[in-house]
């Protein structure tokens, strides 16, 4: 019997992968809720866009995510990603294009064909047609539902996989928190069908449609492990960027604000470590839903075959 500590996106994905392979597993933790940083994620499965600043494994392994989530019964929307910039930040768009692949270049007509509500607002854009998105809270709930035969709230004993995120800093001392802040808006007047990234020299923003006129706006990246409420500055900046995206958002209702700290290592890539009977899987950074499938598979491969995973940097008793 393997006990998974933590029931955020990492813990649930590992439990789900092990369970699917017939490995007896239980979870020490309650199904993820507002205390898990996965709760506040964007849910963009956008490996190519992330490649603008992330290391190569994020792009390569992130491509596996959409199929894995769909295979777990999670609704995945395959509508691609639209990337645009205000006219005065045109150089941000060309820089983003230089550092990414698998996109098409759009003019104003191309943008309005994809997202009619943005017609006439932006002259140039990039479209990443193979990217996808999901609703993180739905995904967590589906994983939990798929684990109905698995015990939750188990004692943390025996052979352990520690997937507690930032809480595992008591054992993983090189783990740090990177604060992120998000908002959920209701704006029935606006119809966007895919994640839109607004490149801006100071306030990069993404907006992810959640359906029924709901939009998730994110996310700040601050070198801090403070998990306290969203700040006025973050809200001001995100909302003014959102207003630049579309003025209809000025009339939106603010449904929710959220903030938490993402677990990250120095290179912002995940790690798998074995210390005796405990296997640690952590450091998903801003790539929780994008990389959890690949890391969960590596952990399960390691458990079932003893294979040394790509992200393993420590293996000792």
């Amino acid at each position: 019997m393997i006990t998974v500590l933590g029931a955020g996106v990492m813990g649930l994905s590992i439990a789900s992968e092990l369970h699917a392979r017939g490995v007896p597993v239980r979870i020490a933790g309650r199904p993820a809720g507002p205390e898990a940083c996965s709760w506040y994620a964007g849910g963009m499965l956008a490996p190519f866009c992330e490649g603008a600043s992330a290391e190569e494994p994020v792009v390569r392994l992130g491509r596996l995510a959409a199929a894995w989530w769909a295979g777990r019964g999670v609704p995945v929307t395959h509508a691609g990603t639209l990337v645009i910039s205000p006219a005065r930040d045109r150089s941000e768009l060309s820089r983003f294009a230089r550092r990414t692949t698998d996109y098409e270049t759009l003019d104003a007509d191309g943008i309005s064909a994809l997202e009619p509500d943005l017609a006439g607002r932006f002259a140039q854009g990039l479209y990443f047609p193979t990217e996808a998105h999901l609703s993180p809270r739905t995904a967590l709930a589906r994983l939990t539902a798929g684990l109905s035969e698995v015990e939750f709230g188990a004692p943390a004993t025996g052979r352990i996989i520690d997937a507690r995120g930032l809480a595992a800093r008591d054992r993983l001392t090189d783990l740090r928190g990177v604060r992120g802040e998000m908002l959920v808006l209701r704006c029935p007047d606006l119809n966007l069908t895919r994640p839109v990234r607004l490149l801006h020299s100071r306030i990069p923003l993404y907006i992810v449609p959640r359906g029924n006129g709901l939009y998730m706006l994110g996310a700040t990246m601050i070198e801090s492990d403070n998990r306290g409420p969203v700040t006025v500055r973050a809200m001001l900046e995100m909302l003014s960027a959102a207003y630049a995206l579309h003025p209809a958002l000025a009339e939106a209702e603010v449904i929710e604000t959220g903030a938490d700290a993402r677990p990250a290592f120095a290179d912002n890539l995940p790690r798998i470590r074995r210390h005796g009977d405990t296997l640690y899987a952590n450091g998903l950074y801003r790539h929780g839903f994008l990389l959890a499938p690949a890391v969960a598979q590596m952990v399960a491969d390691h458990i079932t075959t003893g294979q040394r995973p790509e992200f393993m940097d420590e293996d000792h008793d």
């Binding site: 290391e55 740090r176 070198e223 403070n226 120095a266 912002n268």
Partner: protein, 253 residues
């Protein structure tokens, strides 16, 4: 090599620590460039930024905390006091932003904050414009280093007013001066060093490059080239062509 408040620094390059793809890449940029000073902000990160600050402290370079993000003298003074406690240094890079869009310094609040901080024992590195009168006021306030901008923060436009900067350098030949903000390319940095500035501080040019470590290395080479050129006493431009081999005796028509 530059000397700030009695401390000799081994490099003319100072790097900011914000906006890198990861702390690992930030550390690599310091390694490849040999930068001698790291600036670090804490206004937004606050008490929760301890893990990141420890990573910066692990770079084994001089730390220069800044008051980035402060818009009033009061905020800047409070942030400086917090920085002194957190980092155990009396060095403070004083930024008081006067305009949210252009991020240009507020010269009046800057002098006010510099006066208070110098009186309180801080060693102040004020981020200022190239205005000579402002710089004189900052020196009167007790500053022994000046950090005039090249261009607005993050703009990467190089030296917007080379004439003004040259005038400032000529008027205050003995004050250590660092060009801060606006550097986008190694050539900008070389130009500033050729003009006789003592050091260059840049952040965005490195952090936002596709390969930050390579760009930091390029900047360090350009800065060294500019420093050597300055010491070699450049010839200066002439209005007329001047042949390097004599024409007399040649059969020119």
């Amino acid at each position: 090599m530059p000397r700030f408040y009695g401390t000799q620094v081994d490099s003319c390059l100072m790097l900011g620590t914000a906006g890198y793809p990861s702390p690992a890449i930030l550390a690599e940029a310091f390694r490849t460039s040999g930068a001698g000073i790291a600036t670090v902000s804490l206004r937004r990160e606050g008490g929760g930024g301890q893990a990141f600050r420890e990573l910066i402290q692990g770079l084994d370079v001089h730390l220069l905390p800044n008051t980035a993000g402060c818009h009033t003298a009061r905020e800047a003074i409070t942030t400086a006091q917090m920085a002194r406690e957190l980092f155990g240094t009396s060095w403070i890079k004083l930024e008081v932003i006067g305009h949210a869009d252009t991020l240009q310094p507020d010269p009046f609040a800057l002098v006010e904050a510099a006066t208070a901080l110098c009186r309180d024992g801080f060693q102040v590195f004020p981020y200022c414009t190239e205005d000579l009168i402002l710089c004189e006021r900052l020196l009167e306030a007790g500053c022994e280093v000046l950090m005039p901008w090249g261009a607005p923060i993050g703009s990467g436009r190089g030296l917007n007013n080379p004439y003004g900067l040259a005038t400032l350098r000529a008027h205050l030949p003995d004050v250590p001066m660092v060009i801060d903000a606006g550097i986008g390319l190694p050539s900008h940095a070389a130009q500033a060093m050729e003009m006789g500035f003592d050091a260059i501080l840049t952040n965005t040019a490195v952090a936002q490059a596709g390969d930050p470590a390579a760009m930091a290395h390029a900047l360090s080479l350009a800065i060294e080239a500019g420093r050597l050129a300055r010491a070699a006493d450049p010839m200066g431009p002439r209005d007329m062509a001047s042949p390097s081999t004599p024409l007399i005796g040649k059969a020119f028509l």
